[in-house]
Amino acid sequence: MATHNPTQKAPERETFKIPIGPQHPALKEPGHFEFAVDGETVTDATVRLGYVHRGIEKGVESRTWIQGQYLVERVCGICSHVHATTYCLAVEKLAGVEAPPRAQAIRSLVAELERIHSHMLWLGVAAHEAGFDMLFMYSWRDRETVMNLLEGITGNRVNYSANILGGVKCDITPEQDAAIRAGVDYLEERTRHYLDVVQNDTMFMRRTKNVGTMTREQAEQMGVVGPTARASGVPRDIRVDAPYAAYKDFPVNVITETAGDLHARFVVRVNELFETFRLIRAILDHLPEGDLQTRVKRKIPAGETIMRIEAPRGELFYYVKSAGGETPDRVKIRTPTLPNMASVLELAVGHQLADMPMILTGIDPCFSCNDRMITVRDTHSNQRDVWTWDQLRKYGMNAAQ
């Protein structure tokens, strides 16, 4: 007969670790996640990135200033134009030249078209992760409209190479003006429909409402950027905070939401599309006349600079250093996925395992964009060293003084 012994301790609950990736963890890009689960509930999450480190920063150092632009354009396949624009603006700043107003406006115009392309792509991917493949297919079908527009303007669907140091290569003809307006009108109508679906579809709401909620305080503390921050009520947008290219002449209204959950991230991005449509029309209405290019010398004067741009996913940061020659001395790139990734780990805790792909997709991650490597070397002993966060912080503070 089994007897119950009250002095016997109940066995401790074992946590179970579920490794996901590096192959195909929800998205078709490599990243390794480990979720500690209690039943179906996630209690801890860790991430390992860096599987697609391509050595682009080092590659730029061994190329000329002109060649470097085409390499950084390939950092990201979706937001290639913003990378080239950031690089060009940084180099132009170092060279002490400014691209003509018409070129700046076209840079902004292509960047905004690219934002539509990126947001619609994300809407599809996120809907796919939610099991809503119909929305995925239709949003990707409509994305073709903007892809065709970009192909018409620049000559390519991705890696547009619209930029050149000192300006842009492509002009906007009256026919293209009309084509862009027609395309934007169609997309606006479709986006209104998608907003309706995102806000009212019961199944979709169940997958997104109150999932991965991030408060404004958390968002500020973790330093998240872009639409992920704006969905938590942080009005952070580089186009407004530090206007570049033509955004001084074409001001942007920052779209924010306060809920901070996945649903808010959907609504912010879809509403941002409307703002983008307005901006594109404004740029076309007041496109400045003039040259497309200004001359930039092959040798860039010695110096260092930083450049920030609002990519579709958030703040994109470039640090460019010149030693006065024909090649860059150092180019450091930080893409928006890196600051946003911390929020995924924080928000994962307490949610169901099935929500993980959605929470991950909610920040619109781009793994291969953010995979970079820094090796810290002691200049005296030439020894490699791994720094802790505190050491790195101390170093940063000392360097800033």
Binding site: Y70, G155, N156, N200, T202
Partner: protein
């Protein structure tokens, strides 16, 4: 439930039929600015080599046989080319062009990707390996 709009889309697509083009029997017109296989015109070339210097993919090589007599051979590696258009911008004499219609470049022979432009006799000299090549 608010699925009305999406269902309308689905039913419309059902009766619309496939929208895939029957390539190669039907061809879409490529946009005017589309960039395909590079062409080079000897007439105005000064052999300055800026195209070669600026090419981010090392796809271009200008072989100078005799600068004074304007004997240049233009070696173009189609398989290296990223079709960025920088060479066209770099050329001050408008010798280079990326037309929109020559984009069917797939081949089973690797040699087809190595294209030579220039006078036939000069190209033969380069092919025979008698000219000094290399940047």
């Amino acid at each position: 439930m608010k699925l009305g709009g999406m269902w309308r889309d689905a039913i419309k697509a059902l009766v619309q039929g496939p929208s895939t083009q029957k390539y190669p029997f039907e061809r879409l017109k490529t946009p005017e600015r589309f960039r395909s296989k590079l062409t080079w015109d000897l007439t105005n070339c000064t052999g300055c080599g800026l195209c070669m210097k600026d090419c981010p993919a090392n796809a271009i090589e200008v072989v100078t046989l005799d600068r004074k007599a304007k004997r240049f051979v233009f070696r173009y590696r189609v398989d290296h080319c990223t079709f960025c258009g920088q060479c066209v911008e770099s050329c001050n004499k408008n010798c280079l062009e990326l037309p929109e219609d020559d984009w069917e470049l797939a081949t089973t022979n690797r040699q087809d990707f190595e294209v030579y432009y220039g006078n036939e006799a000069d190209v033969q000299i380069v092919l025979d390996g008698e000219a000094e090549t290399g940047a």
